[in-house]
């Protein structure tokens, strides 16, 4: 994995179990250690992240599930 969003990925992994209790299925936007909030959709998380963090740096958007997503491409 590259360094891009490495801190945000670590924060997500560390707090995933805690967030699963109340936010399972929601989307979270994270920059550094800062969490913009929990959102119902990917689009809402992106808008919320832009509003909170601006557009100068990438921020992480992850859906809160216990397992990482699997992509199907047939």
């Amino acid at each position: 994995m590259s360094d891009l969003l490495a801190t945000e990925t670590r924060v997500f992994r560390e707090r995933r179990e805690e967030w699963l209790r109340e936010h399972a299925g929601s989307y979270v936007a994270i920059m550094g250690e800062d969490v913009a909030g929990f959102f119902d959709s990917y689009a809402a998380a992106f808008q919320g992240g832009l509003a909170r963090f601006g557009s100068r740096q990438n921020f992480l958007i992850e859906q809160i599930w216990r397992t990482d997503p699997v992509y199907f491409v047939f």
């Binding site: 891009l4 990917y42 992106f46 557009s55 921020f59 992480l60 699997v70």
Partner: protein, 147 residues
């Protein structure tokens, strides 16, 4: 409601795929903010995308994602695809369908990967297809898309 028609001849060995023209670029909200900061973006380029009912997400090639400078929201990570693993990233972008009145999606999650189907730069996956009604007329070899 929008409508579009594309030709599809699954028995044509030269091009047995159903394709539609797309423009993939950054989200308008992101471009507006970057514009305020003085950044410029390349003009978007139209490309062919394959309608892929076997893809769970819309996928763009890594080359195109880099070329479009798509805003990345998940780092490049090894993901399981078709029993193997390939590096995939996730981006917040927009997708529109020039020459049709189908509605575009902005922002939308776009997965970047080195595509297994190398003849395409973009696959339209089920995240967008689920909003459409697709009808294939085998006699005229036409696919009608309604949203």
């Amino acid at each position: 409601m929008g409508i579009a028609r594309v030709t599809w001849d699954p028995l044509n060995p030269e091009n047995p795929f159903a394709c539609i023209d797309v423009i993939v670029m950054n989200s308008k909200a992101y471009i507006d903010r970057q514009g305020d900061l003085g950044f410029e973006f390349r003009k978007p380029i139209k490309m062919k995308a394959m309608l892929d009912t076997g893809a769970s997400f819309t996928v763009i090639s890594k080359t195109w994602a880099r070329n479009c400078k798509l805003f990345q929201t998940l780092p490049d990570t090894e993901r399981k695809v078709l029993g193997t693993t390939i590096k995939c990233g996730e981006h917040a972008g927009s997708i529109s369908f020039p020459g049709t009145d189908l509605r575009g999606y902005d922002p939308v999650r776009i997965v970047s990967a080195d595509l297994l189907k190398e003849q395409f730069s973009c696959l339209i996956g089920l995240d967008i297809l689920r909003h459409w009604k697709l009808t294939f007329d085998g006699k005229t070899k036409a696919v009608t898309i309604e949203d």
